[in-house]
Symmetry: D2
Subunit: 303 residues, 4 copies
Amino acid sequence: MHFQPLLDDIAATLRPELGRGGQVASYIPALARVPAAQFGIALRTCDGEEAQAGDSGTPFSIQSISKLFSLALAMRELGDTLWERIGREPSGNPFNSLVQLEAEHGIPRNPFINAGALAVTDRLVSRCDAKARMLALLSSLCGEPVGFDAEVAASEAATGFRNVALANFMKSFGRIDNDVGPVLDAYFHDCAITMSCVQLARAAGFLCRDGAHPYTGEPVLNERQTRRVNALMLTCGTYDAAGEFAFRIGLPCKSGVGGGIVAVVPDRLTLCVWSPALEPSGNSLLGMKALELFAAKTGLSIF
Amino acid sequence: MHFQPLLDDIAATLRPELGRGGQVASYIPALARVPAAQFGIALRTCDGEEAQAGDSGTPFSIQSISKLFSLALAMRELGDTLWERIGREPSGNPFNSLVQLEAEHGIPRNPFINAGALAVTDRLVSRCDAKARMLALLSSLCGEPVGFDAEVAASEAATGFRNVALANFMKSFGRIDNDVGPVLDAYFHDCAITMSCVQLARAAGFLCRDGAHPYTGEPVLNERQTRRVNALMLTCGTYDAAGEFAFRIGLPCKSGVGGGIVAVVPDRLTLCVWSPALEPSGNSLLGMKALELFAAKTGLSIF
Amino acid sequence: MHFQPLLDDIAATLRPELGRGGQVASYIPALARVPAAQFGIALRTCDGEEAQAGDSGTPFSIQSISKLFSLALAMRELGDTLWERIGREPSGNPFNSLVQLEAEHGIPRNPFINAGALAVTDRLVSRCDAKARMLALLSSLCGEPVGFDAEVAASEAATGFRNVALANFMKSFGRIDNDVGPVLDAYFHDCAITMSCVQLARAAGFLCRDGAHPYTGEPVLNERQTRRVNALMLTCGTYDAAGEFAFRIGLPCKSGVGGGIVAVVPDRLTLCVWSPALEPSGNSLLGMKALELFAAKTGLSIF
Amino acid sequence: MHFQPLLDDIAATLRPELGRGGQVASYIPALARVPAAQFGIALRTCDGEEAQAGDSGTPFSIQSISKLFSLALAMRELGDTLWERIGREPSGNPFNSLVQLEAEHGIPRNPFINAGALAVTDRLVSRCDAKARMLALLSSLCGEPVGFDAEVAASEAATGFRNVALANFMKSFGRIDNDVGPVLDAYFHDCAITMSCVQLARAAGFLCRDGAHPYTGEPVLNERQTRRVNALMLTCGTYDAAGEFAFRIGLPCKSGVGGGIVAVVPDRLTLCVWSPALEPSGNSLLGMKALELFAAKTGLSIF
């Protein structure tokens, strides 16, 4: 299958909808001022074929997509002991809810809600320089340097009271080992990483190759771990709309409020779409439409 | 791939564990007295190859596996209007919880929790003789007559106070059109359908064939609907353990407290395992182990 | 203190507000068609002095005020064993919520939420002809025959799906001994009792006299039980507005969606106000204002 | 009534139970090492009569009893605007729960749960040197200097992750105006105030005197405000056991996990009991028994 014409077609189909509908995330100024009328799409196959269309080279704030990579780092570092403090079930509640955390004694439902990612980050902070390791992993995976947006990181820290609450709440149950300060600092920096569609499609490449690094072929995760990450993406990767994604798109996805969504077609390719305006669920409106078109036109679905 | 040796191997591997661990469902006498030390497995490929091992021909109470077939009936009857009263997201709460239903004004999270199946049944009761239609569908799909266990149906009705509560609660929000009596009657009878592993592997066959009837090839559902059923099975099909199933097994599954689990490998085969002793999550203990072995030995996983 | 001029004054003060603001209960036709522009007030002191103003003789549906009298009956019948299945704490949730009931395994928080009153009624149904005993008690207490409004009782039964759900839900936890049918029948009839302000002020008279019957002086409850009923009224008697009542009015009260409110000044008097239009909390809008005026003008408050 | 013999009698009755049953609060070392086998009781009437028995002069950590005085300060400072950010209803949930706060958008149910007291403290921090004002009020009310226990304050700050979470959570809803740091500092210091039964019985004296200072007679609060504080104590003052207190004791009370309980008999007297071992509800076990004996023997109850 030649993907370049397909991506061109999807970008052309969605062009009339650019800037119509949805809301750009507004909780910090650096996100709020991103122009809504942008759309990018990029993919990379297991064989190294690449295709891209639209604003596919424009860097954006990856936000919660970083949770995918911090999870991979922690699975590699900690193996199955990671799961002693983090569940693997869909939460059925908003991504930043404290309700379930209270009922379940500070153990977050899964690593893709904020509480879960904070717990993952705490594990990493105990073992390494979590911020440096994250950038090193992403830079290696996409073959070029990746960095934080310092303004975004500072804004996240200045306004992230809910995340501060989540971290302290878990700490009150004895589920966070480190001081909450460094854990939050690493978490806020992860959210502030800046990448483009092309970079993310490359960086996620190990997820369609049984864990093998997209360039070196060395294992990032083993095969079993890789399948499990994909399973988690499908059941928990898109805030409170995981069922809707599975139903309409049928691919493991991880989204962020910066408007990016990474999708995996196991054994075939990884894909990244980006458009800043969000649905009420917090997922990119045009990003979801693009993925739905992609699945419909290619017949690529895991179901 | 020849599956018969594989199923024999799985059955042999699990034989020493028969009757050890887990609890047979005990809420009605007819289920409580089923001997725990039984295990069956059967599959049927898209090409019509069949294999089976253990107690694969023993009839058992399919219980919530019936929700898969009532959903298919309702999707065929109602198309997308079905989704006006039923969500498609994981619930994050026990299968018979009323909490979420209260917060969400009587609209159940998905068709596989009890409230959702009651809402599906209400839609069917409005359109047809729901009990007769269900038996006709299942008999056609597995190529031989299928019936209700009258004792189980009567026990479900006599002790199903929680389901009566759920139906009346949804009715109080105006989400049930019919009198609750006939809806509950059809629902309790569906739960009381008796089938074997072989019959269920055949009956679910349309789910791995883009919706085509396993014998006649006629569409039971269209391709898009079929994928969506598989997606719902993966995200919502196994009570509060959907994440665990996706993580460990990686296949769309639907389970019942009678100890059966139906699994789908899209475009390849359908599979049914059965063993009455349950894990705390309400899913068959050995059934889960068998599926995990099957996925590990075949490498068949959607992820 | 001479109360007649005071009640006349309160009625005159509120007259300009009659029919303005609030909503008459509309869930059954018989309540929905009650004209909003009515107001009555009546009191009876421990010494037998009576005063009344406005529509104080007009019969209305006492609705949840009946929970006060069914509780008194059950406390007399069962003593402290009553509290094995019913709590005594404010619920913090709407009167007909199922959420807390699920978390607390079918034990209702207090006897004044619907679930609690159903549990009280179940206890009575086990011991006596609950409907007849209720009418006998009320007729004796107010010195003249009291009856049910058959149309209201039938409407409650025909539309009371939430109450049917509550009863079946508690039954599913083993907290209801009888079939739910007779329990609901008695409960719906209690809600459909018709009385006037004057009758209710008399009937509640034992609550300001350490439990002594307002006419015969015989004990309806003992002193300790009577204080406890007053305590429950204050903490739980006015739906989700118990704190607001304590804060603004400072007297034990029990309200109903028919627009009536009974209040107790311990050792002094009992009072009943009635006006059909309700606040969002389900309490009579003008009834609350009248009680607030009464408390302010007399200085009678328990605090 | 002469109260000295009565208090002696209560202390003698409870002496055999000293050190039996209940658990001393253990979340910080300074509380955990308080010997359980202590009991004190003291009262002061409106007329200035005083009585005391047992360890009535021993200073203890007043903990949540401080919420009574910070509320009084804030009511005096802010009048009715205080209630824009704090409710007045019982919570029906544990004192440090975040669940309700999430559902109700960061507005705490009442000023006596931790979240409510933090909101009260935020209001005070905006207006004055909250810590100094608190000590000044208490010192004035009990006629001698009152201070903080620095070790307790430091421990509260070092381990109070749940309170840090609550403050940040409210801040995320825009319900806290100040930085959370100074608000938490003032709150932790308030909890760490040390007083004896005698001092607290005196300091609470304005609550039985329509708001008048126990020594100077000047208004601490006006009459209406004072009644409202008493009403809040009754409905919300004793953690999740307000109904139980109203039912068994029948007086407005405010308790703390240091083992103290302040009770008010309006227009008669204020009372303080102290014994460190707590019931599961977080209220002093012997303190509750002492208050129940006091109410039973004197007949003093507001109901």
